[in-house]
């Protein structure tokens, strides 16, 4: 392990269940506890003097899908936007607490939020293809800011990203057409391709199927399952069935607080908190 000088790495994060203990003999060479890919520590996101979400401590393991659920206004989107430092783009907002990417706090003073967003990508509720670019240019849009790639490499990356977004077959003959000719579902998959092309580590999805028809939504859900093989995914959704279908872990929020978090099957079958149960059974929200 490289020596850790300034940044404080949390080796054992409270929200992550510890791996099974090693037998004593091999403890000397035991792997240290797994650092979650993305984690928060007492995170509070403020709008002026009110908090949108407060004191959230959460961890997401690599290659998992974590769903954030809760009724409208519970703070799940606010939390999501705090994870890639988009929350602070609105005037008068700030964030306290820590967000740890591989154990390093992205809110530390000298950290450049722009660089953070290159490692943590986001797909929004409404598909937002860049209208003045072709489909291929849209997918490659994130590459413009990284290290230079040659034309052939870029073409390969575009093709690979579109394949991962399950859109390649539908657009391979019209890569130089306008994205506005695609359907809503296709545009959203285009946005996913655009997000994965620069190889971020984490992908955040903010209600990605809310504006789509059921067919398009199904495609996106399949995609999420594929994406977790390479990325760590956090998805906000107010569709409980969707959360149950696609996620490995689920976190339930209510009125700006994290009420309960755990493996999805456990949370949905035997929730620990009464509020969770009430929400899941549809008594409110």
């Amino acid at each position: 392990m490289p020596s850790v000088s300034t940044p404080e790495r949390s080796r054992q994060h409270p929200a992550v269940t510890p791996p099974p203990t090693q037998p004593a003999a091999s403890r000397a060479v035991a792997e240290p506890a797994v650092v979650p890919r993305l984690a928060t520590d007492a995170l509070t996101a403020w709008y002026g003097s009110t908090s949108g979400v407060r004191d959230v401590t959460l961890a997401c393991r690599e290659n998992t899908v974590t769903a954030l659920i809760g009724p409208s206004g519970c703070g799940k989107s606010t939390l999501l936007r705090s994870l890639n430092r988009m929350h602070e783009l609105v005037a008068g907002t700030r964030v306290t607490g820590r967000v740890l990417l591989d154990g390093y706090d992205i809110y530390e003073r000298d950290v450049n939020p722009i660089q953070v967003r290159r490692r943590i990508g986001m797909v929004f509720q409404r598909p937002t293809p860049f209208p003045m670019m072709t489909i291929a240019e849209n997918v490659a849009a994130g590459l413009a800011i990284g290290p230079k790639v040659s034309r052939s490499e870029r073409a390969d990356i575009v093709e690979h990203a579109l394949k991962r977004a399950a859109l390649w077959d539908e657009v391979k003959d019209r890569l130089h057409d306008s994205p506005l000719e695609l359907s809503g579902g296709q545009q959203q998959r285009l946005c996913v391709a655009r997000t994965v092309a620069p190889e971020p580590e984490v992908i955040l999805l903010d209600e990605p199927t809310a504006a789509l028809d059921p067919g398009g939504a199904a495609h996106i859900e399949e995609l999420v399952q594929e994406l977790k093989r390479e990325f760590t995914v956090v998805i906000v959704t107010h569709n409980l069935q969707q959360a149950a279908r696609v996620s490995d872990y689920t976190a339930f929020f209510y009125l700006g607080e994290l009420v309960e978090v755990g493996p999805t099957t456990r949370l949905f079958t035997t929730p620990l908190k009464p509020q969770t149960e009430a929400y899941i059974t549809g008594r409110f929200g």
């Binding site: 005037a91 290159r118 929004f124 937002t128 209208p131 003045m132 849009a141 413009a144 800011i145």
Partner: protein, 280 residues
Amino acid sequence: MRGRLIRRLFGSLMTGATYGAAALAILPLAVILGMLLVKGAGSLDWNFFTKSAVPFGESGGGFANAIVGTLIIVGLACAVGVPIGVGIGVFLAEFGGGQLGLAIRFVADVLNGVPSIVIGIFAWTWLVKPMGHFSALAGGVALGMILVPILARTTEEMVRLVPNSLREAALALGYQRWRTSLQVVVRTAAAGILTGCLVAVARVAGETAPLLFTALGNQFFSTRLQGPMAALPLQVYVYALGPYDEWHRQAWAGALVLIMLVLVLSLVARTVVRAKRQHA
């Protein structure tokens, strides 16, 4: 009951009056366009477009020097005014939310209301007096000064129409603010900005007053930027006031060419701008 009837009749009368007002407002436009066509079209011959002014008394002269002069001077004005005006417009749209933006917007509106003759004498003090001679350059800069505040406001309007979701998507990709602004926002608004330029150019191409003491006008064909140069509206003005019928005839023709230029630019631009506004 009678009271109600009278009120209804009065209402109908006034409604008709508004129809009349609209008709009366459009009447001068129709009359002017009609007269320009009637009095000017006949003089639009080959000579008109290819020959320059000839000494008084002779026939066969044309407006070539003025047409080319206008193209050059307006070109200069664009070279000066478009980058600055569009830049200020982008500033107002991207960074203009606070006090400074409010102040700049206000100043732009004020400048839009300054009479163009005042801009003309200002340009004279800065560009003619120190140089000692009139020049197309001075005329171009004077027109450029008129372009800037117009372009600032139209550009701002067009850039503001770009939905915020596009900005967010670019920022989420890790784009810097400058890259988001230029490569996504301004690029998306480019068509609208261009049409705003067309509207402004149409307005400025017809300006005479700022050229009176800067480009001055020129009887002869000249493309020299540091010397006096003819311009279409200037020449129309001089010929209209002149004593010769021949000059009057050509003034109408020149005016027709000018109005065609202005109206075509205006109509194209306004159609596109209106479509974009409704689209947003």
